[in-house]
Symmetry: C2
DNA sequence: TGAATAGTGTCTATGAGACAGTATGTA
DNA sequence: TACATACTGTCTCATAGACACTATTCA
């Protein structure tokens, strides 16, 4: 199937196709991203987003999952949500040749310390504030990819139910509120948030369970993710403030 | 710069990189997309989205603009807005070999009848209802690309000021309202819409001009696009109904 | 009992939607 | 004047935000 109709066109540019992953999780009240230390050139020894090249016959989604498993040990079942973010292919973004990179954005609850593998010497969960505090900290144009990812994440929490992708299967309303507060960097009124979330159709479903009274305070109702993907009405930033 | 670090890796897949364009415009109260009739194999003679292959050293954006000009005669100055939509690269989306296609979404006001060129035998502005009424009408996976484009367009009108990208430089509030009505397929209350748009900071700017009294009715104030990109508050679908 | 966290009630301000009414042009 | 389209006023209802209050646990 390769090299049949195109062989007469010597001008046709073929590029290696990479997938890069922004894997976000919450850890100790901080929004964190998964970063690997590159074990191969170029940018060997630098921090970068996990990722790698697409193989023949492989879909982009499959490549994203494979690279994530290879470089960090995270498998599909641990991923709360994954979506295509954007595609980057500036002619000089890679010093070797023009490479097209399709970035994916994933949310993972309770990410365990990753185990490096593949082309990665090390894999760490790092606060995004630290990764973004100066440009050039990440290899290639991964600073830019991370920036776009955070922007998308903040926007999507407003009008989708994706905040639940950062939570375990069972979660309390206050845990869900912490997701919003951490991602947006705001504080929200707990009372109004509670009412809004439980009244938005399909957002969360109350289960029969509550948390164990763990030392002090009233046990909290446990909820699971509802069927809604889009929220009506949306949970807008700048509202529900405390 | 080509074939230096990679020549030792025989397994590295290189793909031709295409850009495909969904160019939307309003014509006779209908949302329309630009389609070309393919002049080359595969799918020769079929309708498709305009697009083509990225050339060496060319950015995706540059390739999008070049293909649009080559195949339809539309130049950058006529484009109201353009953004990256999504990337498609299913292994069998092209019968020749695996090709990665980065789709772009553009809004154009008052699109003139396009002039076919390049690899296109014909270029037409066609109602999206007609293009989407049966699957398989468009070549490759262009049905799917168009579907994603329309979905994105409808969503973006809600929370961005992009509706103005379908209008001329000077427009009336009622012309802007027609954009929403046509794209969403709804009717909106003219009075409430007027108030909402003019009160949303940065959406539109009143000019000193009005329309000429063209036969009947009070002349309308002319507005130009404001500096805002995101709307606060948003113009939600299902509201402002008449 | 008090401390702590979960959850409800309720007041106020704002904005959406319905629709009546006013303004300004042409014939 | 009649008519058509542009625009404003105003009423009602829903929701956001503030914050006081009640509920349920543990020590």
């Amino acid at each position: 199937m390769t090299n049949n109709n195109f062989t007469d066109n010597e001008n046709l540019l073929r590029m290696p196709v990479a997938v890069d992953l922004v894997v976000l999780t919450l850890r100790e009240d901080t929004l964190c991203a998964l970063a690997i230390r590159r074990g191969i050139k170029p940018f060997k020894g630098h921090w970068a987003l996990p990722g790698g090249f697409v193989r023949p016959g492989e879909s982009l989604e499959a490549a994203a999952h494979r690279e994530l498993a290879e470089e960090t040990g995270i498998v599909a079942g641990q991923i709360g949500h994954i979506e295509q973010l954007a595609t980057f292919s500036a002619p000089r973004r890679d010093p070797r040749e023009q490479i097209i990179s399709v970035a994916y954005l994933a949310f993972v609850p309770n990410l365990p310390e990753p185990t490096a593998g593949g082309d990665a010497n090390d894999a760490r969960i790092t606060a995004i504030d630290e990764l973004m505090d100066e440009s050039g900290k990440l290899a290639f144009d991964h600073d830019e990819i991370l920036r776009v990812a955070i922007e998308r994440t903040r926007a999507k929490l407003e009008y989708t139910s994706l905040a639940t992708a950062f939570c375990n299967e069972r979660f309390t309303i206050n845990e869900l509120r912490r997701v919003y507060e951490i991602v947006w960097g705001t504080t929200l009124d707990a009372a109004n948030f509670h009412r809004k979330v439980t009244k938005t159709p399909g957002f969360v479903i109350a289960t029969a369970e509550t948390t164990r009274g763990d030392g002090s305070g009233r046990p909290a109702q446990l909820y699971s993710q509802g069927p809604a993907h889009m929220l009506h009405p949306a949970l807008l930033r700048g509202n529900t403030q405390g």
